[in-house]
C-alpha cells in the first residue's frame, strides 16, 4: 500500500505505538480520573479520526446561519459586545428606585429587577410565611403602588427591563404595563424580559404556586397576549441556570432546559398560537461553571439542537424562531466561602467560557456571594472582569475562536448526543410535564448533586481552598448588611394601601379574574384590571389558587 493512502486512523495507531507507548512507559500519566466537573470523560487527545464522517458545513456551518453552532450573529462581538447585565435589587421599592436612577444616570440602558422571596412566591409582605424575608434578597413588591415607586422618574420607553419573576410573572408584568400606561407609553413600545419559566421551578428552584398544567395555561395566555399587544417583550427566559445550581451535570442542564423550551413551544401550539408568532420571543439562560471546554461545548450544542428542534420538529419558518438567544450567569454554586478572593479567578474563567460559547448577555457573580448579598466593591470587580475580557483579552475580536478545534467539536457533539438522549426519554414519558410529575429530572439532579459532593469529600474532585490548598488564614472581606427595618416599613405601607383603596373595585376585578380562570378567557386583561384596582400580589394569587390549586412537592432525597 502506498503511504499516501494511509488513513488518519492508522496515523493515530502509529503515534500510539511509536510515540505514546514509550512515553507512557517512561512517564506515566497522573492518576486521574480525567473527567470534567460533570464527571464527563475527557479524552487524552482528539484527532481528525474522532471526527470521521463529521460534516463540518452541516453541523457547524457559518456564524449567523443555520444551525448557528458558531453563533447567531455573523460578526458576533466584532459588531457589538455582549450586554453586561448585572442583576440587583433589595429593600423597598424606594431604595431600589434610587439605585436604578443612579445606574441609568451612569450610562446603563437596561435594568434587571431582583424581587424578594415573598414576591417571588406570590405572598404579601404581611403573610406569616414572609417573616424575615421581606426585602432581603430583592425588592419587595406588594401592589401597583410599589411598582409605581420602583419606576418613578424612569422613562419606560427608553429602557429595557428584565424581571426575574416566575410563578407570579403575569401579575408583575401587568403592573409594569399599568405603570407604562400611566406614563403614557404605548405597550407596543415596551422592551424587556420576564423569566416566566415555571417548569424549572418544579425541577430546581422550587418557587412555585400552582401545579404545572394551570401554570402552563397562564404562560400561554401571556404569550398570546404579548404577540398581540406587547410584541417586543421577551415572554420566557428558559433557564438552565437554576438546574445547574441544584447540582445537575452540564448535559442535564442542557437537556432539561431544552426539554422545558420544547414544553413551552408545544403548549403554545396546543393553545392555537402560530409558532412563528411567539417563538422569536423565547430566550434562554444558562449557567457557566468551572469546566471551561465543557461549558463552551454546551452552549454551542444548545444552539444547534434548538435550531433543529424549531425548524424540523415544530416546522417554524422564520429564522428568528430558530435562533437560540441566551443570557449566561457564572455559577454561584462554584464559589467558596473559604479564601473568597479565589472566586474572582473562578468567575473570570467562567465568564470567558460564556463568551467563547457565544452568549448574548452575561452576569458575573461577585466574590462574596457565598457569604451575603454582594457589596458594591465586589460587584464592581465582577463587572470589571467582563470589561477586561471584552476590551483587553482579545477574545471578542474573532467569531467562535474555538470552532474547528477537534476537542471542542467532539465535546460539542457529545454534549448534543447526551442531551438528545435525555430529550428522547422525556418524550417517551409523554413530555416534560409528565416527566416532572414523575419526578424524573428532580431525581436525576439529586443523584448528580450527591455524586459530586461525594467526589469532593473523597477529594476526587478538587475545590481549591476547600479540599486542597486549605489555609487557615482566610482573608476577611467586607460584607453588605441589610437594614432590618425594611420589613416593618413595607408591612406598614401595605396596611395603609389596604385602608385607602376602592374595595368594591378590587372585589369586582378579583371576581372576574376568578371567573376567567375557571373558563378559557385570556387571563391577562383580568390580571391587568386587578392590579389597576390595587389588588395585591398575594390577593391575586390566592384567588387563582382557588381555581388552580396549590402545588405540593414530594421531597426526593
Amino acid at each position: 500500500m502506498a503511504k499516501t493512502s494511509k488513513t488518519a486512523s492508522s496515523e493515530r495507531q502509529r503515534w500510539d505505538e511509536e510515540t505514546l507507548g514509550p512515553a507512557l512507559g517512561k512517564n506515566p500519566e497522573r492518576a486521574g480520573p480525567f473527567t470534567s466537573v460533570s464527571d464527563f470523560p475527557i479524552e487524552r487527545l482528539v484527532t481528525p479520526e474522532d471526527l470521521e464522517g463529521f460534516d463540518f458545513e452541516r453541523e457547524v456551518g457559518m456564524p449567523g446561519e443555520y444551525p448557528y453552532t458558531r453563533g447567531i450573529h455573523p460578526t458576533m462581538y466584532r459588531g457589538k459586545v455582549w450586554t453586561m447585565r448585572q442583576f440587583s435589587g433589595f429593600g423597598t421599592a424606594r431604595h431600589t428606585n434610587e439605585r436604578y436612577r443612579y445606574l441609568l444616570a451612569h450610562g446603563q440602558t437596561g435594568l434587571s429587577v431582583a424581587f424578594d422571596l415573598p414576591t417571588l412566591m406570590g405572598r404579601d409582605s404581611d403573610d406569616a410565611m414572609a417573616l424575615g424575608e421581606v426585602g432581603r434578597e430583592g425588592v419587595a413588591i406588594d401592589s401597583l403602588a410599589d411598582m409605581e415607586t420602583l419606576f418613578e422618574g424612569i422613562p419606560l420607553e427608553r429602557i429595557s427591563t428584565s424581571m426575574t419573576i416566575n410563578s407570579p410573572a403575569a401579575i408583575l408584568f401587568a403592573m409594569y404595563l399599568a405603570v407604562a400606561e400611566k406614563q403614557g407609553v404605548a405597550a407596543d413600545r415596551l422592551e424587556g424580559t420576564i423569566q416566566n419559566d415555571i417548569l424549572k421551578e418544579y425541577i430546581a428552584q422550587k418557587e412555585w404556586i400552582y401545579p404545572p398544567r394551570p401554570s402552563l395555561r397562564i404562560i400561554t395566555d401571556i404569550m398570546g397576549y404579548c404577540a398581540r399587544v406587547v410584541p417586543r417583550w421577551n415572554t420566557i427566559s428558559v433557564s438552565g441556570y437554576h438546574i445547574r445550581e441544584a447540582g445537575s451535570t452540564a448535559v442535564q442542564e442542557l437537556a432539561f432546559t431544552l426539554a422545558d423550551g420544547i414544553g413551552y413551544v408545544q403548549a403554545g401550539i396546543d393553545a392555537g398560537l402560530d409558532v412563528d408568532a411567539f417563538a422569536p420571543r423565547l430566550s434562554f439562560f444558562f449557567n457557566a461553571h468551572n469546566d471551561f471546554f465543557e461549558e463552551v461545548g454546551k452552549l454551542r450544542a444548545a444552539r444547534r439542537i434548538w435550531a433543529r428542534v424549531m425548524r424540523e420538529r415544530f416546522g417554524a419558518k422564520q429564522e428568528r424562531s430558530w435562533k437560540l438567544r441566551t443570557h449566561v450567569q457564572t455559577a454561584g454554586c462554584s464559589l467558596t466561602a473559604q479564601q473568597p478572593y479565589n472566586n474572582i479567578v473562578r468567575v473570570t474563567l467562567q465568564a470567558l467560557a460564556a463568551v467563547m460559547g457565544g452568549t448574548q448577555s452575561l452576569h458575573t457573580n461577585s466574590m462574596d456571594e457565598t457569604l451575603a448579598l454582594p457589596s458594591e466593591r465586589a460587584v464592581t470587580i465582577a463587572l470589571r472582569t467582563q470589561q477586561i475580557i471584552a476590551e483587553e483579552s482579545g477574545a471578542a475580536g474573532t467569531v467562535d475562536p474555538l470552532g474547528g478545534s477537534y476537542f471542542v467539536e467532539d465535546l460539542t457533539n457529545k454534549m448534543e448526543r447526551g442531551a438528545l438522549d435525555y430529550i428522547r426519554r422525556i418524550d417517551e414519558m409523554g413530555g416534560i410535564v409528565s416527566a416532572i410529575e414523575a419526578g424524573f429530572p428532580q431525581r436525576e439532579i439529586a443523584e448528580a448533586a450527591y455524586h459530586y459532593q461525594m467526589q469532593v469529600d473523597r477529594k476526587e474532585k478538587v475545590v481549591v481552598g476547600v479540599n486542597k490548598y486549605v489555609a487557615s488564614d482566610d482573608h476577611e472581606i467586607p460584607i453588605l448588611k441589610i437594614d432590618m427595618d425594611v420589613e416593618r416599613e413595607q408591612v406598614d405601607r401595605l396596611k395603609r394601601l389596604r385602608q385607602q383603596r376602592d374595595y368594591a373595585r378590587v372585589d369586582r376585578a378579583l371576581a372576574s379574574l376568578e371567573a376567567a380562570a375557571s373558563g378559557r378567557d385570556n387571563l391577562m386583561p383580568h390580571i391587568l384590571e386587578s392590579v389597576k384596582a390595587y389588588a395585591t400580589v398575594g390577593e391575586i394569587c390566592a384567588r387563582m389558587k382557588r381555581v388552580f390549586g396549590e402545588y405540593r412537592e414530594q421531597p426526593i432525597l
Binding site: L117, P118, L120, M121, R123, A128, M129, A130, L131, G132, E133, R136, E137, E201, Q205, K206, E207, E245, A246, G247, C333, L335, T336, A337, Q338, E369, T370, L371, A372, L373, A446, A449, Y450, Q453, M454, V456, D457, V463, G465, V466, N467, E476, I479, I482, M484, E553, P555, I556, L557
Partner: protein, 126 residues
Amino acid sequence: MGKVGLDGHDRGVKIVARALRDAGFEVIYTGLHQTPEMVVNTAIQEDVDAVSLSILSGAHMTLLPRVLDLLKERGAGDISVFAGGIIPPEDIVELKRAGVLEVFTPGASTREIIDFVREKIPSRRS
C-alpha cells in the same frame, strides 16, 4: 432536618440528609416551606435529638432564634439546633451566642457534618 421560610435552595440539605442517613442516623426531612412552628411540632412529635435547618435566603437571624424560642417554650430546649447556609461570620457568632450549636457554610464536607453530629449532639435518651 428542614427548610424554614420560603427559601427553595434544597441542594445542600438533601445531600446532608442523605449523607447522614447513609452514615447510619435516622433522618427526618420535612421538605420545603416549613414555618418554625411546623418544624418544632415535628421535632417534638418525632422525639428527635437535633434539629438542623438550612437557610440560604438571608432570613436566618429571624427564623433560627424563633425556632430556639419555640423549642424552649414547648419544654424541648434540650433538642440541639444546628444550621447550614449562606450565613455571614458575624451572624454566626450571634447565632451561637443565642444557642445554635454549629453553623456550616458552603464548602463544608459531609464528613465534617457527620463527625459533628456523632461527637457533639448529645442523645436525649441517655
